[in-house]
Subunit: 200 residues, 2 copies
DNA sequence: TCGGTTATGTCAGCCATGTTGACTTATTTC
DNA sequence: GAAATAAGTCAACATGGCTGACATAACCGA
């Protein structure tokens, strides 16, 4: 009853679709040709919102069982995929402050999902590695997301992969692109097990 | 110096890319064929993270000048694009609680960006409309996002639009898809101006 | 070797935005 | 007229952003 689908699908409350004014809309006189019509672009913005909203749903639900939040997921994800990254790298990737990061990172370390190890060339650095436990959780969290992505890629049809990749890369700030490339090119291989946490 | 790009690009700290173990990785024995390799899917997950991270940057910066946050943007966006929707619709779209919504909605109303109007068929409903001021802000916030989207679509190449649309739709939870379609099909036309706020 | 810079960690405190549960009011619907 | 519904509200709490200041250890260049 309260369901929007119902509501709209039944045509009872068509979201006031009975347009009163049918003027061109938007930027009054400042026409902005040269790209897709504004309306179409905003549709993509909305779709992106809905897609991302649901993309995070499954892991969020799992995280609750562990007493973690989405912030923990992000940290664990990058540490798992790019083992051995430094705290500074993580700050840069997540674009959050040291304080924000340290809170969640500390919890992940305390609970045995991540271990630190001093850098060999520069012993000030604290390199981050997932433990076996950490890898297990990271995989559990990403599993539903992988399933969703695989299904969506398949649904969109062949050829989507390459285009989507280019699209997403182009969505990133230009100055950030080299960083992102470097990060993504970096080894997704877990290194030494830092002692506690057990080895795989 | 602290810059990750620098760091990585210069090859100084290649994120410990000196892989120690080169085993297939991931789900130890539980091979999950049938879709893309896990690693590739996780790359898309990362790209999606980076893309969304930057997608929200520009409006976030603008919002700060108005003393608003991302939550206000979301509300204003949907009210602007789908004028006349009900509070219940908004709760459903945003998937947040009444309390969370009411805080930001009240601020938007108090500051004259949104007006309410009792429904005509059901006077319990409070239909939401943007004021001229609200529309102006909504457009200002979405402008950089539209630019970004247009550029990314162009960069990805022809044919991206259709594939991306299908991809994003498929990323949404199956049960939610009819809702989303209904919402997106609904009139993006602002109706009556509720008195204060002035007409356009 | 010393002094400046860097990488990290930490303290204290603030703010935005999400949560729950209970309750009121107005209105519709049966 | 009673039950259900749409919305608003209160109180209280959790998460995860933020700032600024400061401590420590290690590196690096003069």
């Amino acid at each position: 009853m309260t369901d929007l689908t119902e509501t709209l699908a039944r045509g009872e409350k068509p979201l006031r679709a009975k347009a009163l004014r049918a003027k061109p809309r938007g930027n009054g006189g400042a026409r902005k040709r040269a790209s897709l019509p504004e309306a179409k672009l905003l549709e993509f913005a909305e779709l992106l919102f809905f897609a991302y909203r649901d993309f995070t749903r499954d892991p969020d639900a799992i995280l609750k069982d562990f007493g973690f939040g989405r912030a923990h997921h992000r940290v664990l994800h990058f540490v798992n995929r790019h083992s051995g990254l430094r705290v500074a790298d993580l700050l840069d990737i997540l674009t959050i402050t040291k304080q924000s990061l340290s809170r969640v990172l500390k919890q992940l370390i305390d609970k045995g999902y991540i271990v630190q190890q001093a850098g060999s060339s520069d012993r000030r650095e604290r390199l981050l590695f997932p433990t076996a436990k950490g890898r297990a959780l990271a995989e559990r969290l990403s599993a539903p997301q992988s399933v969703r992505l695989a299904a969506a890629l398949k649904a969109a049809g062949p050829g989507t992969e390459a285009l989507l990749r280019r699209f997403l890369e182009a969505m990133v700030n230009a100055e950030e692109r080299p960083k992102v490339s470097s990060i993504m090119a970096a080894s997704p291989v877990p290194l030494k097990e830092g002692g506690k946490g057990g080895g795989s």
